[in-house]
Point group: C2
Chain length 193, copies 2
């Protein structure tokens, strides 16, 4: 049954997702850290809204937009390994979340596909590292670069309170990788519900 | 000098480009063919407008939106070969153009990156075929899938009248490739100025 649902999700067209920070929203903001470059204004709550006709709370202080999309680097065998272990969003026990918007530099985007893949996985082990934290950490990537947004990617993570330290470990390892030399702006937003 | 200009263009962020069909515009519509799936309404003129604050003619019958973006399949060595030969848009003698919007099927987007690359170039020779028609045919690709548009890609081509037959040959070869099994909608708009 779970496999069927995953397949249905992958078949669908890109979905617009809005992340609105402000006075209302299902998620309480625990902290917002400006990891690199400019941060985002402090807010108390965050709402995630899906769909083309999504409306954000009128009290929003900032709204970040992204779309789900097809995978850009994952190979067939890597996908099989991911699908074997990854979990869906919205699990009952996953009461902690993180939204990590990043923007990569022009030198990254000027690399050819094979050069980006080599840094992303060949040398930085982005996929292999993430795999170690499955199924504890559920994840959904949103693309924002083509929408004219201030960030290129908005990655959303959900996990249980007992996996907070593991999640910190995951983001720490990625930030120490060669790929992160190309990250010119990063904000780390931690949430709880 | 030309190399410098190309480099500057590649460094830039994605640029929004609008294609507006209607009663006005710099390009005269020679014909609109529905190659696969639904076509587009007949119009007399087409305007291409660049930039985030672009305004389209108020008389527009349809408007297609896309953004320039980084390359998704081209390797470093392929890019070097392309940059050696490709020409810029707007050449004085290039008084013929084509706008070819396509949408690919769910099975295409559900393939992993290595599978898409293998079909795109390994078996369909998309890049190698295009290279044969340089520098006669100048080309710019616009991505539209993440914008919620009816097409995934809008490709714009410019060439001189003496290269019309060569361009027909190019599109014919691509349409006969395995990659085109995954094209579920295609419109071919030919233009002159």
């Amino acid at each position: 049954m779970r496999r069927l649902i995953r397949y249905a999700r992958r078949m669908s067209a890109p979905q617009l997702v809005l992340f609105a920070g402000g006075a209302t929203g299902r998620w309480r903001v625990v902290r917002i850290d400006a990891v690199r470059g400019a941060g985002l204004a402090a807010v108390e709550r965050l709402e995630m809204v899906e769909g083309d006709h999504a409306a954000v709370p009128s009290s929003s202080v900032w709204v970040l937009r992204g779309t789900t999309s097809h995978e850009r680097y994952v190979t067939q065998s890597e996908r099989a390994a991911l699908e074997e272990r990854q979990e869906r969003l919205g699990r009952t026990g996953a009461t902690r979340a993180a939204l990590i918007p990043i923007r990569k530099s022009s030198p990254w985007w000027d690399l050819a596909q094979d050069q980006r893949r080599e840094i992303f996985e060949g040398r930085s082990r982005h996929i292999a590292t993430g795999l170690e934290y499955l199924p504890a950490v559920a994840r959904r990537l949103h693309h924002a670069r083509e929408l004219g947004e201030p960030f290129d990617f908005l990655t959303w993570f959900e996990y249980a309170p007992e996996h907070v330290a593991a999640f910190d470990d995951l983001v720490g390892r990625l930030r120490a990788s060669e790929e992160w030399n190309y990250v010119e702006r990063e904000v780390d937003i931690r949430l709880a519900r």
